[in-house]
Symmetry: none
Subunit: 242 residues, 4 copies
Amino acid sequence: MFPTREDVHGIKRLEVLRQAAASFNFKGYHATSMNEIAASLGVTKAALYHYFPNKNSLLAACFEHAMDAAFASLEGARKEGRNGRERLVLTMSFYVAQLINELNCCVVLMEEQALEPEDHAKLVRQRDRFERALRAFVKEGIDDGSVVPCDPKLAIFVILGAMNWVPKWFKPSGTWKPDQLNAALAQMFERIISSSPAAAMARDVGELPSRGEPPASLISLAQRRRTPRPGPAKKIKAGGKR
Amino acid sequence: MFPTREDVHGIKRLEVLRQAAASFNFKGYHATSMNEIAASLGVTKAALYHYFPNKNSLLAACFEHAMDAAFASLEGARKEGRNGRERLVLTMSFYVAQLINELNCCVVLMEEQALEPEDHAKLVRQRDRFERALRAFVKEGIDDGSVVPCDPKLAIFVILGAMNWVPKWFKPSGTWKPDQLNAALAQMFERIISSSPAAAMARDVGELPSRGEPPASLISLAQRRRTPRPGPAKKIKAGGKR
Amino acid sequence: MFPTREDVHGIKRLEVLRQAAASFNFKGYHATSMNEIAASLGVTKAALYHYFPNKNSLLAACFEHAMDAAFASLEGARKEGRNGRERLVLTMSFYVAQLINELNCCVVLMEEQALEPEDHAKLVRQRDRFERALRAFVKEGIDDGSVVPCDPKLAIFVILGAMNWVPKWFKPSGTWKPDQLNAALAQMFERIISSSPAAAMARDVGELPSRGEPPASLISLAQRRRTPRPGPAKKIKAGGKR
Amino acid sequence: MFPTREDVHGIKRLEVLRQAAASFNFKGYHATSMNEIAASLGVTKAALYHYFPNKNSLLAACFEHAMDAAFASLEGARKEGRNGRERLVLTMSFYVAQLINELNCCVVLMEEQALEPEDHAKLVRQRDRFERALRAFVKEGIDDGSVVPCDPKLAIFVILGAMNWVPKWFKPSGTWKPDQLNAALAQMFERIISSSPAAAMARDVGELPSRGEPPASLISLAQRRRTPRPGPAKKIKAGGKR
DNA sequence: AATGAATGAGGGTTCATTCAT
DNA sequence: TATGAATGAACCCTCATTCAT
C-alpha cells in the first residue's frame, strides 16, 4: 500500500523503519539514538545510513507513512461510511489499524517540531488537511443528524489526543489484540460524537471476542478492502445496554 | 496551594519551573536545552543551577506539581461530586485548571522515561494510584448509574490521552480562555462516559461565552472551593439517567 | 603479560592508556583533560571514547595495570628471593620495571579518591593486600635476620613513598635509563631495611653503566623470568648478615 | 615564625589556609573546590575572597609556607647538626614538624604545575635551592664520613618521596602522635644514608615513647629553638642492634 | 565581613554523521 | 552491504570569580 521506496533496498528498509518507529514511540525521537535502533536490528549504526540518509529522514518517513495511512483511511471511510459519524469513526479505525500493522505501533505524532523545516511544513499542511477533513465529517454528521452538535475542532482534538496516547499504554503483545483495541476505541469515539443515546459499552475489552460475534476486524478490512461494512457503532449498539 | 519548595529560593524558582514546563510541553524534554530555558528567562544557563540541581530535577518538579495537582483534584472532586461521573469529570476539571494556572500550561506527561529511576518509580506509583482512583470513579458511576457500562481502563486512557494532548494545541494566550477550554473539555469527557443521552454541545468553544450564561468557571471553582457547582454536570444530569 | 583487554581494540587502546598514564603522572588526574590526552595522540577527544567509556575508566585501568604488576612482582619475588629482604627488594624492582615498561612511566598512585566508589573499593582491597604482603616480607626478613628490626608499616610507607615519587622526577628519556633507575632504587631500598652494614652505593647512577659490570637488568629479568639473579641484592648479600 | 600576612586579616586567614592545605593534601588541588573549603569553615565561597585573591594564591601560600619552613629548617639544622648526616636528618625533622604543626598536615608538593607561571618559577627556584642544599649535606656527609657513599640526587629524591607520601597515610588524630612520626621518620632517613652499621629500629613506633627516655621532640625543638641537641641518630645508634 | 545571585569558561560525554576498508 | 574509527557540534554540568547588597 505504501511502496514509497522500500523496493529500492529490499525489505530491510521497512524493518529499519518499524524499529525506528517503535523506538520513537516508546522513548521519543530525541531520546532514541541511531545506535539503539541499529542495535535492536543487530547491525551497526553506520548500516542504517544505507537505507536512510539521516535520522531525521526516519522520522519524516514515519510521518509520511502516517499521513499516507491517514488519507487512505479518509478515502476508505468516504466510500464505506454512510453518514458523518460513520465516516469519522471509520477513518480513525482504518488509521489505527494501518499504523499498528505497519509500523509496529502507532507513530508518535508529538514530535513534529523535530522535523526539518521543509518536512515539517509539508507535514503541517497534510495534517491540517487531514484534520479539516475530519472536522468536515463532524459538520457533515451534525447536519445529517448522526453527530451531536458540538465544536468540531475540540471534538477532533479530543479524539486525536486519545489516539496519540495509545502508544503509551498499548502493547501489541499484551492481552488486548490490535483488533480488540481498535473496536473498543471505535466505540469510545462513537460515544463522544454520536447523536444517538449512548450505547452500552463492553465492560472489558479483553473479553470482547467472546461477546457473541467477534468484532469486525477493522484491520483486515482496512487492508483487504472488503465491501461496505456497517461500522461498529451500529452493531454494538444493537447489543448495547437498553 | 502547592508551596513544595518555591519559598526556598523566592519566586524565581517557580518562574524557572514555569518556563521549563512550557518548553518541555512545547518541544519535549530532550529537545529542550538548559540554554533555551535560561535564555527565555534572560539569564545564563549556569544561573538555573541555583534553583535546580540539574535538568532532570526540573522535569521531576513538573511531575511532582502535576501529581500534587492530581491528588488535590481527586480530593476536591470527592467532596463536591455527587456521583461517579461527576467526580470523574470534576477531577479532570480541577486538574486542568491547576496545571494551566501554575505551570503556564499542562505539564507534558509523556516523557516519564526520562526521569531518574528513583523519581520515575515514584511517579509511576503515584500515577497508578491516580489512575486507579479515576477508574474507581468510573466503576462507581457504572454502579450508581451515572456512567455508561464500559471498560474503565479504556475510558480513562481515552480521557487522559485527550488531556495530555491539550498542550499540543492549546495556548493560554489564544482565543480560548483557560476557563472555556476547561468547560468544553468537561463536556466532552462527560459525553464519553455519561449514561444519559448526550447533551447538546457548544458548536464553537471560541464563542462559548456569548452563549447565554458563561460556563461555570471550573478554574475558579477549583481555587475558591465554591459550594455545589451548577456546571455542566448538573445540566446533563438533569436529563440524565435516573 | 597483562593482556587485560588491549586485544579488544587493537594496540591503540594501550597507546591511549599509556598517554593517559603519562599525563596523569605528570599533571595529575584532575588537571589532565580528555582533550589533552587526545591531542597528544593526534586525535579528537571523542575518539578516546571508542576505547574507554569515560575518563575515570582510564584511571581505573591504570590502577588495574599497576595492581596486576604488583601481584605479579610479588609472585616473582616469592620464587626468586631467598629471604625476606631479597623478596621485598625484588618485588619493588619487578614492580617498577613493569610499570615503566608498560605504562610509559610509573602510574601515579596518589589520586585513588578520584575513582568511582566501586573501583576505589576494589583498589583499596588490592592495595591493602599488596601492602600486607610487603609487610609480611619485612617481618619475615626480621625473623630470618635479613632485615633490621623495625616497624614494618613505616618501612613500607617509606619505600612506597619513594616509589610513588619517582614519576615526579624520572623521565625515561632522560640520562638515567630505566634499568639504572631500577638498580639504584633497589640499592636504596636495600639500605633502608637491610640488617647488614650498608654497602657502598654508586655515587652517580648516571655513571653506573661504566662501573664495571652493568647492573643486572631487572626489567628484562622481570619479563624473561630468568634464573636466580646476580643483581644488587646478591652483591649486598655478600657483605650482608650471615 | 611566618607572619607573612596573617596579621592583615587576623587569625582567620591562617584558618582558611590550614583548611585549604588539609583539603589539598587529602584530595588534591584540582579536586578541591572553593565551596568545599568554605563549607568546612562554615562560611560561603565568596567569603574566602576576603582573605585570598583566588584559589591559586591559596596553593601558592601553601608552598610559600612550605618553603619558608624548608629554609628555616635548613638554617636550624646547619647550626645544630654536627656533620652532614645530622644536618640532613635534622632538616627533614624540623621541616616535617613545622608543616604538620602549622598546616595541619604536610603540604602536598605534587601539584606545583597548577601554580601560575610566576609562582611556579619562584617555587622551582626555591625548591631547587632547597634540594641543592640537601644534596650538599649528603656530599658533606660523604666527605666527613657520616654518610655512606651514594648518589646524592637519588638519596634526596628517595627521602623527599617518603616525606611527601606522609600526608597520604598519616592522620594527626591517629594512634601515632606527630612526635612519634617524626622520630620514626628520622630513624628511617638515617638508615638510608648513614655510613655506620645499621642501627636497630623501633619495632613499633607506637611504642617508642615507652622505650627508655622519650625521643627528643623535634617538633618542640624546631619551634622553641632549644639549645644544640645531639640528634636522634646518635642516641638511637647507641641503643642500636649489635 | 559576608552573602546570594549570576557569569563565563571549560570539562566530560553523547551522538549524528562520514569515510576508508 | 556493512563496519570500525573518527569527527565536530552540542549538551549538561561544575567552578572560580565577580558584584551589589
